[in-house]
Symmetry: C3
Subunit: 161 residues, 3 copies
């Protein structure tokens, strides 16, 4: 229990409903597997579904990629050429095989890419929906795949009073 | 209404004032137009004003750029040479005209830039003010302008008890 | 005081305990000094400690670097070669001495690096612990050191009802 003493008037109903049942943060994991060494996977629909199921009308949605060789990128999701352009660009900018860390894991490039793109994006929740613009999508960035057990943590924060 | 039953003692006053009037998230849009294909627009004062008008003393301010060819960058705002350096750097690193996506929209470079910089930054609110350092400013990054209808969504989260 | 009128039934106990004592945001600063012009400093343990001391079980931890020539990067913290790879990569990509802003401060490269990496990362808090993956660490990125008075602002947001 949360409090030492509980109000014993009608507020008990309020207390139970408002403060104990009404969670303010909902968290859910997206589990995924990847097929390529480097790819961008569109997870927009899965993030949208978590927001809708949370019932939150107005708030924030924090998306976080687990894994030091992965990241989250907000990117156009209408045309598959855009994620391909991103993968090709990062592959040329940060090529494999030339890093100090390659002596350990042979994935130094994946770490540099992941750090540069970053694992976290925070998106507004507006009228019960993920507040992306028309062409924005949420992408999981794989830089050291294929992996069978990738995870994205989605936290929906309720801003309602 | 929020609850099925409402407390009918003096707590009603509390209930009304504390829980229904005291919003925990304030959200406001910044609408802007851009003049160049690529530019950084200083929106620091507009974000500051939203934080001040929210009345929030301690919390977080989440800034989010709508549009898959735009982004938010925290950058020095004292000397105009810094945003120019950023625009020139990104233009050289990610030049127009060489992307798969150019066959559709001719703006493949804008998408790669937007994805790399990212649309979201989350800044602390401290003693009622935006918790930037002395030289940090908030910039809207246009990568596919000019546009007349750009939008930044500012969500101020109240951390007060 | 927060409200004009205070409930005068047993709810006062509830009111005092629940709404005034239970803080929803804890904020703490990490102060640090840097030794090199460019380096990544592992602050994972200090961020972890702030989260543990906050007592928050489920929520979010927003990490923010003060300073327009500094940034926050989530990166592998097991092998020192990774931060070194990152520093070398950024130094080559964004070399000193070739920027418009160098006429003012001679640190144009530091601003471009800081803007690209970004000062904010938002990490889930799960079961009272910072929700990093096994190899993810939190790094303060110095791009214009050495400095004696760097600051990171850590805001822990309580998602408990």
């Amino acid at each position: 229990m949360y409090l030492g003493s509980v109000p014993n008037c009608d507020c008990l109903a309020f207390y139970n409903q408002r403060c104990f049942i009404d969670l303010r943060i909902m968290r859910e994991n997206i589990e995924l597997s990847t097929r390529e060494r480097e790819e961008l996977l569109d997870i927009t629909d899965r993030v949208r579904r978590i927001v809708e199921e949370s019932g939150v009308r107005d708030g924030l949605c924090a998306v976080y990629a687990h894994g030091a060789t992965a990241a989250i990128m907000i990117q156009e999701n209408w045309d598959a050429s855009v994620p391909t352009d991103v993968v090709n660009f990062l592959h040329t900018l940060i090529p494999p095989g030339v890093w100090l860390h390659d002596r350990q894991d042979n994935n130094g490039d994946a770490h540099v890419k992941a750090g540069l793109v970053g694992p976290s994006e925070t998106i507004p929740v507006i009228d019960g929906e993920l507040g992306l613009s028309t062409w924005q999508g949420v992408f999981f960035c794989e830089f050291d795949g294929p992996r069978r057990d990738r995870r994205v943590i989605v936290t929906v924060l309720d801003g309602a009073p």
